[in-house]
């Protein structure tokens, strides 16, 4: 990847009627942004939600965001992220059964459960499934500004 590339985890909300247009494809083709779709759902009334990780230069990012806005798509930053309390995790592996993106996976042959936050779509399934409650949900940004 080029030097000044950065990545962002975004939630795109597609209003009714927009879920079938190829906007994500255009982000790649027109704005040179690489994407990794972590979660995508279309709800019964045809609105869609997609969690994706975007990679690109800040400039292309800005242009891509403007394009999404113009297409009527609501863009949100993931405000919460999943963390793991390493002291509490027993590496049992129960969470790997429910993690939809493979962010939680068993590494072999050592059988440690590894957590790759880059792949996490913040679906929160692991938080309730983890037997010793090692997984937690917390805001991405600190609530209080640093002094």
């Amino acid at each position: 990847m080029v030097k000044d590339t950065y990545s962002k985890m975004l939630i795109l909300r597609f209003p009714k009627g927009r879920a079938d247009s190829p906007v994500v494809c255009n982000l790649a083709r027109e704005y040179d942004l690489t994407f990794n779709i972590l979660n995508a759902t279309i709800y019964p009334r045809k609105e869609g939600v997609m969690v994706l990780q975007l990679f690109g230069t800040p400039q292309n990012f800005e242009r891509g965001m403007a394009y999404l806005k113009q297409e009527g798509i609501k863009v949100q930053k993931t405000e919460e992220e999943i963390g793991r309390n390493e002291e509490v995790c027993t590496h049992c592996g129960t969470c790997t059964a429910v993690c939809p993106t493979g962010a939680l996976a068993v590494s072999r042959p050592d059988m440690h459960v590894v957590f790759d936050q880059e792949k996490c779509s913040v679906c929160k399934l692991c938080v309730r499934v983890c037997p010793p409650r090692a997984m937690n949900l917390h805001p991405v940004d600190d609530l209080l500004p640093e002094v």
Binding site: T90, H91, C92, G93, T94, T96, A97, V98, V106, R108, D110, M111, H112, L125, R128, V129, P131, P132, R133
Partner: protein, 387 residues
């Protein structure tokens, strides 16, 4: 004349432990040793094989005596951190079971329930040295007139706190799959519909009872690693069943033997006694258990040399069959395949997840190995054999 080429006694092995000459390996290391040198050579070389397992073991709990108050009480109901503990025993004795949810838990009213705190958590908190709230109520007698006591206690304050687990260290366990069309939340974890994932719970080749499949050295009175401290095999566990189909090496291919274990909580480490919450099922306790297997002869070397390729279990449907009480095997599968992360089931690849921590099982094997090598842990000859 013995039927074996290598013959060692418990006493001889203990002499080696005391003199620092003992050779101890983990069950995992033993698999390779036996494969390379054969059981006779392995039996000559190795004196003790350490085994270990760490997983939820629901049939666990603690007998606690909380000491007499002034005036005295014959407690008829007790709670520890708002979790009911059975008090239908002597005046200030109670038994806190691992799967008891706390009062006012919404349980499964909103399914699947989270079960954030229960008996297993109380046991963990006590071992971690935390203060626990004790409430006892009584109807009052002439010898014990008090009707209610309430106090904060720590493990140190308690005159007696002993884990007494009626069923631990299951020898083999089912692999769970869901053949129904809806997700189910079971004690075997979350199972997605249409056989989309498979969960299993054993440490396989590290597991104590897989290394002594016919219980030739593990019996009543065997000293073990229990929850980071010292424990003992007290008896066969509940649901103990030796009459199960087995491999030629004696390893059962479905759930079989179990152990009842006892150990002083005051010797234990909270890392190996962990309160857990099983979504949609209830609270429980994950226990770390390790048992040293003395290599008395080449037969024991051969048993401990069996690897995951030669250990098998059955796949059961937890969507329809198991809840209806009609569990039947859908397929046999090896632990080598289960631990690879994917199994071949009915023509498709199904991802697998463990519920049992191999990481902690290995750590237990290593701790036990160090303790024996350094002379801090002697092996014990059973005082009675299991059926």
């Amino acid at each position: 004349m013995s039927e074996f080429k290598v013959n060692k006694t418990y006493a001889e092995i203990n002499e080696k432990i005391k003199s620092g000459k003992v050779v101890v390996v983990t069950a995992e290391e033993m698999v390779d040793i036996v494969k390379e040198n054969g059981p006779i050579e392995a039996a000559r070389e190795v004196d003790v094989v350490t085994t270990g397992t760490f997983a939820p073991m629901c049939s666990s709990g603690a007998f606690i005596n909380f000491g007499h108050s002034k005036p005295g009480i014959k407690a008829s109901k007790t709670w520890l951190n708002n979790v009911p503990a059975y008090a239908g025993i002597a005046a200030v004795d109670c038994y806190i079971g691992a799967t008891e949810p706390c009062e006012e838990d919404p349980l499964n009213r909103v399914h699947p329930g989270e079960f954030n705190y229960g008996g297993g958590h109380v046991i963990h908190d006590l071992i971690a040295g935390e203060e626990v709230h004790l409430l006892a109520t009584a109807y009052g007698t002439q010898c014990y007139p008090n009707r209610r006591i309430e106090k904060m206690v720590t493990l140190k304050d308690l005159p007696y706190a002993v884990l007494c687990n009626p069923r631990n260290a299951y020898q083999n366990y089912a692999c769970a799959i869901n053949m129904s069309t809806k997700t189910v939340y079971t004690y075997m974890g979350v199972l997605k519909p249409r056989a989309s994932n498979a969960n299993y719970s054993t440490s396989g080749q590290l597991s104590p009872l897989f290394n002594d499949p016919l219980c030739k050295t593990i019996g009543i009175g065997t000293k073990i690693f229990m929850g980071g401290g010292v424990g003992w095999v007290s008896f066969q566990g509940t649901q103990y069943n030796p009459n199960v189909e087995s491999t030629p090496m004696g390893a059962p291919v479905r759930p079989a033997r179990t152990l009842m274990l006892t150990g002083d909580m005051k010797t234990m480490n909270p890392k190996f006694v962990v309160g857990v919450s099983i979504l949609g099922y209830g609270p429980s306790l994950s226990m770390g258990v390790g048992i040293p297997i003395p290599i008395l002869n080449e037969e024991m070397a051969a048993y401990t040399g069996v690897g995951n390729d030669d250990l098998f279990t059955q796949i059961f449907d937890y969507g329809n069959d198991y809840p209806a009480g009609n569990a039947k095997s859908l397929q046999q599968v090896s632990y080598a395949e289960l631990m690879s992360g994917s199994i071949r089931f009915q023509g498709k690849d199904v991802p697998t997840s463990p519920l049992s921590s191999i990481v902690l099982a290995r750590e237990i094997c290593d701790i036990l190995k160090t303790q024996i090598t350094e002379g801090d842990f002697l092996i014990t000859e059973p005082q009675g054999m299991l059926p």
